[in-house]
Each structure stands twice: as structure tokens, then as C-alpha cells.
Subunit: 308 residues, 2 copies
């Protein structure tokens, strides 16, 4: 199998967009037709609604984008039935030809990190969950990252290491600075170094970086520090990041970054300007319109325009 | 319900030991009678063996200690059936009167952090998984920690924030130092500050800290920085930490820390000196002997002797 980096490059080129659709099911926000008559307190009903909703989103976006990102937390919130819905969602996305980045921000030490990597990375023949990539936290250091890198490389999978997150308080520890730079810069250099053995024809390796759209200057700076890392850019849309803000995440060919939008796409039916055009029954049309608008914005205002 | 900190203090006082038993099921290490005839490639069989094994450990340790720590990674490695085994293990431990710290090292930003907290923290009436406490990663900063603290306080639950981990490479980012100290010291001060609103009669609050047994000097130093935080101390036994190494984690009354041992207890039947005394059929007797030895060591060599 091709490496994750090559498969992601091929997907972005084929669809001509770096748009990444985040699958963050929240019961209160689901379109009313999907939750009518269901009990919020019944995990089987909630999990079933989550899976139907995510599959409905996937049906709409699979012809438009190449990659989706289920957020593990919302499935875990529904217990074991939620985990079954997550498995069903990942499996359905794969069937539809999408790449799946599971947003689980996992990590642990040594052999436990290897267990997480084994659990999530790689096709269903080799891993329990069948994700193409997983988000990973760096706090535990290099020896917590290498088990992920090894298993990712063996299985054509990838990881995205948290470098500079999009939340207001992200700088509290990430910006602590010694003579060699801030913590996030140390992490960035480590990410680049972990890519040494896996850079393919696209110019990218198995180890990506999470860098928030809410820090436009750092996106450009970190693009220089990690020339071989795919960026996963959260914070577009609901968190305030614009297409112009994420321009620095790309290379000159419009590759090198995927830009996530969760609520702004999946719950578009309840948000301006889409709620004026679509009612809850037509929530999938709202998803489609919001996805197409994001694709157009990224083409107009970032190097992703080079893909067309 | 009493706060987690008070319940943990009561449990440690009642059992007269800070011994925390880690439930890290690994198929290859399970006692042979539990895996005979099972297929490693069949997740239902593996998950069933994990649950039987964990329940068997719980049966032995419930009269001896007050708290257990399932490691989420090993259950996640077995997919949805593994998650059902985790749920069954947590539920069984609660029935037996044990406190449950789920080792999941979760975190995310804002409302996603709240989803993780809602998922894991609190009794089964209020959370899907029913853990008393959860380990949490600090990389995303204060606004990723406060949703956990709020939900923990509401539900009489707790969190343990990674401060100084026990692995060899833990210092790579945790030891980066600015004029106000190392990253782990910044995190420690934040932990102490988050306890401001929840310190109870025991002197401890809802926000604990993970500090590795492999760093004895930092244990004492961090005990001073976080006088109101329960410590979860990994790294005892298999990772090289001794009872003398963890002495600095306790307060003068022998409270303030729980010391984890996973492999050294649960797989004792396969390790010296227990493998000479117990065969695989008597693996539970080996678990009991290893637990009693750890209890005795901590009483002899740490302030936990004050509990007796």
C-alpha cells in the first residue's frame, strides 16, 4: 500500500481541495428529522442517530473531498454503543473511498503507545478501528511518538502530532520558551526529524502536525520548520479562522495542508447563511452547499487554487 | 456524594495502603488457562479473556487495596468488543467497592474536552463509562483542563494531569525551561491552582498529578509545589522505581499519593520470585502475593507506614 502521505496527496489532487470534513456528532445539534422521538438518555438510540448522521454527511461529501475526521470524544460520550457507531462510521467512510483521520489525541509511554498505534492505524486487516491516521499528543516526548511512527510506516498510515493548537489557552504551555525556541517549535523540529525515513514522491512523510488556523503567523513559520509534514489545520469557521488565515499552511503547489471544518459544514442547516436557504429536512443540501463554499474560499484565497 | 479526593483518602486509610493496581491486559501475557484454545485474531474471544482476567484480578485485590487503574489503550486495541470489556471491568470494580482511575490520557479543546469529561467522569447514573477519575494530558493548556475540573467537581470525580512522566524520553518537552522553571513545573503550578475550589477535609482537591517514580527528586520537589494534589505515581516495579524512590510523593501522614503497579502484580505468575512459587493455574495467588509484598514495601520504606 502507498504511504498515508502519498494517498493524502493523491486525494487532495484528485478532488482539487484540501477541505477536511470533521465528523463531530452532538445530539443537540443533529437535524431534527434524525432525532425526532429519540431519547437523549438512551445510548443505543443516540449512537444510532450519530451513525446515521455521519453516514448521511459522508454520502454528501464523498464526491467532493478526500478526507474526513471523526472526533472520538463525541462517540466515547455515548459509551459502548457510541464506539460501535464510530467503528461503523470509519468503515462506511472507507467504503466510500475517503481517507479517515481519527481525532483521538491519544498517547502514552512505550508499549502502551504501541497499543494505541496498533489499535487505530492501518486498514481493517491490520487494526481494530481501521483509521488511516490518528492525532497524537506530544507531551510524553520522543519515545512516546516513535511507536506510532513505526507502526504508521509499516501500515501505510499516518499521525498528526499536536504542535500549535487553535484554542485561546493553547499557548499556556506550548509557548514556554527557552534559548532554542518555544515548546511548540521544539515539537515541530521533532516532527520534522521523525519524517526523515518516510518522505515520498509528494515531498511529505508519515508524521503530520496539528497547527491551528487561529495562529496565521505561526502557520507560515511552522511550514518552514516542517517542510515534510502534512498539516492538519483546525480552527477554520466556527473558531474564527478564515481561508486567508490558513494560506501559510500550504506549499507553493497547494499541497501540504488539510483544513478542517466540523460544525460549519455538518450543522450548516442551523447556521447562517444556510438556515435561510435550507430547512432541517434538507440538511444534507446545506452540508453540500457549505462544503462547496469552503472549497471555493480555499481555492480563491490560498495556494490550494493551484490544484485546479 | 463525597469528592473523589475524600473518597480516595478514605479508601487509602481503610486499606492502610496507597497501592494502586493497574489493569493492563495483554493477550500474550495472560495466564495460560485464560487463553487456552482462544484465537488472538478473534476480538470477541480476546475481549472476553481480558474481562475475565481483569475480574479475576479484581476479586483478589478488592479486599487489599482501594483503587484500580484500567489502561484504556489495551481495551481499545481490541475494538468494540474491547470497549465492552472495559465497561464490564469498570462496572465490576465499582461493584466490589473499588475506586476506578481510567488511564486514558485524554484531552482536547473546549467543548470536546467537556465531552470527554462527560463520557468518563462520575457514577454510571451520570457518565457513560462510570470512572471515578481519568488521566488527562495538559498540552492544550488551561482552557482544556477547566471543563474536566468543572464536571469532576459536579460529579464527585477527579482527574490526574500528566506532569512528569516516568518514561526515559519524558523530559524532551517536559524539561524545557524558561525563567520561571521547566514546563512540568508550569503544569504543576497550574494543577495546584485548579485545586483552589475543591480542597476538602483531607487537604486534597479534585485535580491530581501524574509524577513518575523514576524521578525521585522531582517527586519531593513537586510535592511542595502541589500540596493539594493527589499524586498518581507510575513507574514502580517493571519500570525500575522502588518503594524508597516514591517516598517523597507522600505527605507526613502517608496520604497524598497512590503508587501504581501493573505488570508486576497482574502478571506476577510469570515473574521472579513468584513464578518459582506459583504455576499459571494459581495465577491469582501470585497476584495476591505480589500485592501483599508491594503493600509491605510501601509500609516499610515510605510515609505510608503511618497509615497502619
Amino acid at each position: 500500500m502507498d504511504s498515508f502521505a502519498e494517498r493524502l496527496a493523491a486525494g487532495v489532487r484528485r478532488t482539487k481541495t484540501p477541505t477536511l470534513v470533521g465528523l463531530d456528532p452532538r445530539f443537540e445539534s443533529l437535524p431534527e428529522p434524525l432525532t425526532a422521538g429519540l431519547l437523549k438518555t438512551n445510548p443505543i438510540e443516540v449512537a444510532s442517530a450519530f451513525e446515521s448522521f455521519c453516514k448521511g454527511v459522508i454520502d454528501v461529501v464523498a464526491p467532493l473531498v478526500s478526507v474526513v475526521k471523526p472526533q472520538a470524544a463525541f462517540f466515547e460520550q455515548v459509551g459502548v454503543p457510541g464506539m460501535a457507531a464510530l467503528a461503523g462510521t470509519i468503515s462506511y467512510a472507507r467504503e466510500k473511498g475517503l481517507l479517515v483521520i481519527l481525532d483521538g489525541k491519544r498517547n502514552d509511554i512505550g508499549s502502551t503507545a504501541a497499543a494505541y498505534a496498533d489499535a487505530y492505524l492501518g486498514p481493517p486487516e491490520s487494526s481494530a478501528w481501521g483509521a488511516d491516521a490518528l492525532t497524537v499528543s506530544p507531551y510524553l516526548g520522543e519515545d512516546s511518538l516513535t511507536p506510532f511512527v513505526e507502526i504508521a510506516e509499516q501500515r501505510g498510515a499516518g499521525i498528526f502530532v499536536l504542535v500549535k493548537t487553535s484554542n485561546p489557552g493553547g499557548g499556556m504551555f506550548q509557548d514556554i520558551e527557552d534559548g532554542e525556541g518555544a515548546v511548540y517549535q521544539h515539537v515541530a523540529r521533532q516532527v520534522e526529524s521523525l519524517n526523515a525515513t518516510s518522505v515520498g514522491a509528494s515531498g511529505y512523510g508519515s508524521v503530520g502536525a496539528v497547527v491551528g488556523a487561529t495562529y496565521p503567523e505561526q502557520l507560515s513559520e511552522l511550514r518552514e520548520v516542517m517542510p515534510h509534514a502534512w498539516f492538519l489545520v483546525p480552527g477554520y469557521g466556527a473558531q474564527g479562522g478564515t481561508a486567508a488565515d490558513v494560506a501559510g499552511a500550504f506549499d507553493a503547489n497547494g499541497l501540504g495542508a488539510v483544513v478542517n471544518n466540523s460544525r460549519g459544514i455538518i450543522f450548516a442547516h442551523a447556521k447562517a447563511p444556510y438556515r435561510e436557504r435550507f430547512d432541517a429536512l434538507n440538511w444534507q443540501s446545506a452540508v453540500e452547499a457549505a462544503t462547496l463554499d469552503m472549497i471555493a474560499s480555499l481555492r480563491a484565497e490560498t495556494p490550494a487554487g493551484q490544484l485546479v
